[in-house]
């Protein structure tokens, strides 16, 4: 009897260690050189080119050139895609500068902004019901996705009229339900992004009282790559950057190819060419690598990241271990903001510079 129990225990111990081994052998554990990579993207005006990149074969072309494979995966849930990236399931993912700081970087995953794709220039906005100005928001409930860039935009907007978050009541509302929520009488103020924003402003009797064009260059859309993976595999950085700027060149043209590419992106994001062009109009796309490089090099980027860090710290997004906003170091070409010995987010223009010089 004792013998059989012991043999059962041994089998169990073995099973446990096997399962544990399976769980811990995540892809991130191997930062060594590899040939297969996965990129996750979610629907947003500035990220639709990745869908086109996959469908048109441009990514495959560039991946072949460098002898690697890049799998482009669409994820339906934005935050989930970043969480999966942070957990090591993806090598690269699209996200905003704020989410790059608060999710992967705050989780200790050293991340590099490989491509600075665009910044929101009106794509995010604060909308009130009725004929109102931003000051009228005092005392209202504001429905938004809490702790997202909308929350940051609202905080910046309130700051601009001498108010703070204490003057309003923030109600966390899922982005999927925000448009429906706005039709309800109890909802009087929302902060959101496109395409939801245009759905909401299209309703009668609304005023858009603040938008991201009033804080240009602060809500930045990035392609973020795991720093270790990138350092071990510069080919990945070259292939992705090369593919991206090839599409940018196509998109920014006025010929049939540009229309075809943009129509594809429009349909994939659930709108038509006119609707997509309207969203592009409120997005400052960096169509050439040179523009993105110049933006990354400017000292404004560091100032922006300081504001974002301070906002994130005030809302507890840098983790409980963070004593102040400078806890996580952010490296930009013009200097490092915060703790230099804990740099977890890097704006690295090297690959975009190669693209600008035509060296890819």
């Amino acid at each position: 009897m004792m013998h059989s129990i012991r043999s059962i225990m041994r089998t169990l111990t073995l099973t446990v260690s096997m399962i544990a081994l399976l769980i811990t052998t995540s892809p991130a554990a191997f930062a060594a050189e590899k040939t297969d990579f996965k990129l996750a993207w979610t629907i947003y005006v500035g990220w639709m080119p990745w869908d086109y990149a996959a469908a048109s074969g441009i990514v495959d072309k560039w991946a072949d050139k460098y002898g690697i494979n890049i799998d482009i995966v669409q994820v339906n849930d934005y935050v989930e895609s970043i969480n999966q990236y942070t957990a090591g399931q993806f090598d690269a993912t699209v996200m905003t500068n704020m989410d790059a700081l608060t999710i992967p970087a705050a989780s200790g995953v050293d991340s590099t902004a490989l491509i600075v794709g665009d910044f929101s220039n009106g794509n995010d906005g604060v909308v009130l019901k009725g004929d109102k100005t931003l000051k009228d928001i005092a005392g209202q409930q504001v429905n938004l996705v809490e702790l997202s860039v909308s929350h940051y935009l609202l905080a910046r907007g309130l700051e601009s009229v001498g108010m703070s978050e204490k003057d309003v009541k923030v109600v966390n509302t899922s982005d999927a339900d925000l448009v429906a929520a706005f039709s309800s009488d109890t909802v009087t103020a929302v902060t959101t992004w496109n395409p939801l924003l245009s759905e909401i402003t299209a309703q009668p009797n609304t005023s858009e009282v603040f938008d991201s064009s009033m804080i240009p260059g602060e809500i930045i859309d990035l392609l973020v790559v795991n720093t270790e993976t990138l350092e071990a595999n510069p080919k990945l950085g070259k292939a992705l950057t090369g593919a991206w700027y090839e599409i940018m060149a196509t998109m920014s043209g006025t010929d049939a190819a540009a229309t075809e590419a943009k129509t594809f992106m429009a349909e994939a994001s659930g709108t038509d060419l006119a609707g997509y062009d309207a969203q592009l109009a409120s997005t400052k796309m960096f169509y050439t690598a040179a523009e993105a490089v110049a933006f990354t090099h400017s000292a404004d980027l560091m100032a922006t990241m300081q504001k974002v860090s301070e906002f994130s710290f005030d809302h507890g997004l840098l983790g409980e271990g963070a004593p102040d906003a400078t806890f996580i170091g952010i490296e930009t070409p013009s200097g490092v903001y915060g703790n230099t010995s804990n740099v977890k987010l890097r704006f690295n223009p090297a690959y975009m510079e190669m693209a600008a010089e035509g060296a890819l």
């Binding site: 169990l12 099973t15 446990v16 260690s17 399962i19 544990a20 769980i23 811990t24 995540s26 991130a28 554990a29 935050v79 969480n83 942070t86 957990a87 608060t102 999710i103 705050a106 989780s107 200790g108 995953v109 429905n143 809490e146 702790l147 997202s148 009541k169 923030v170 109600v171 966390n172 509302t173 899922s174 339900d177 429906a180 929520a181 039709s183 309800s184 009488d185 109890t186 909802v187 507890g316 997004l317 983790g319 409980e320 271990g321």
Partner: protein
């Protein structure tokens, strides 16, 4: 050689075997978490038990820096209030319509098909409609729970009422009982324990709809907190919250069972005592 189907574990053996899966899960977690933390000490996916303890102290026993409230207490009270209202309302409506449908053919004919149809609508699919009708406040969260579980309770109670032996009802009629008297004195006492049972079985769904409602629009609540901190992958908060929800749900199920045994011992007696 005794056949495997006839071999019984001893009392302690049963206890030990019951704990075994939990111990294995815990061990797997510890090993996996240690491995991830060894690689990246800031990893948030599988936090250490120390981080859990810190998060529990922070959420449960220290006033929040921003609002001065005890977050866990606050979240629990808001969620429980919504849940109790939703479940209480569903049980009440379920009892009234269920017994009515079961006993009064003129009520059953128009209502029964409607209840069946409503019970088949996935509540999450009509969320936008609920928002427009009931707004985004407390009401819509309670309504979501009611729409989710009430039809199930009604149908269950209706079936249970139908199942009552017709002899009983005929006997009560020969004794001169009116419809109302029969419903109140014969049917209701026998249906009450079955109502508690129906509520116990739908509690799981009620929690599901509560969490879903709080994830969509809220300023507090257990579901709200989980979906909020998910934004920065604070598993050190999420996992204790999940454990807490499980504990609350278990406590509610257990107390309902005790109440039922206390108030309706005859019901549990007929079920052979081991009815749970």
């Amino acid at each position: 050689m005794t056949r495997i189907i006839n071999r019984q574990p001893s009392r302690y053996g049963r206890l030990a075997l019951g704990f075994l899966p939990f111990v294995i899960l815990l061990l797997v977690y510890i090993v996996a978490s240690d491995a991830r933390l060894a690689e990246n000490s800031a990893d948030k996916l599988l936090p250490s038990f120390q981080s859990f303890a810190d998060a529990v102290v922070r959420m449960g026993f220290e006033p929040s820096k921003r609002t001065g409230e005890y977050l866990l207490l606050n979240d629990t009270l808001s969620s429980l209030q919504r849940l109790m209202m939703g479940v209480g309302l569903s049980a009440f409506i379920g009892l009234v319509i269920g017994v009515g449908n079961g006993m009064v053919p003129y009520m059953r004919s128009p209502l029964s098909p409607l209840v069946t149809a409503i019970s088949l609508i996935p509540p999450m699919a009509i969320l936008p409609i609920l928002f427009i009708i009931f707004g985004l406040g407390e009401l819509s969260k309670v309504v979501l729970i009611v729409i989710g579980i009430c039809p199930i309770i009604i149908r269950d109670i209706q079936l249970r009422t139908d199942d009552l032996p017709p002899e009983q009802l005929i006997k009560a009629q020969t004794l001169g009982g009116s419809s109302w008297q029969i419903i109140v004195r014969v049917v209701l006492p026998q249906i009450m324990p079955r109502l508690i049972e129906a509520v116990r079985l739908t509690l799981g769904s009620a929690w599901l709809f509560l969490i879903a409602a709080e994830a969509i629009a809220a300023t507090d609540g257990l579901g709200y907190r989980i979906f909020l901190v998910r934004r920065y992958m604070a598993m050190d908060v999420i996992l204790p919250y999940v454990l807490w929800i499980t504990t609350l749900a278990f406590a509610m199920d257990w107390s309902l069972k005790r109440v039922s045994i206390l108030l309706f011992p005859w019901y549990h007696g007929t079920q052979g005592g081991g009815h749970d």
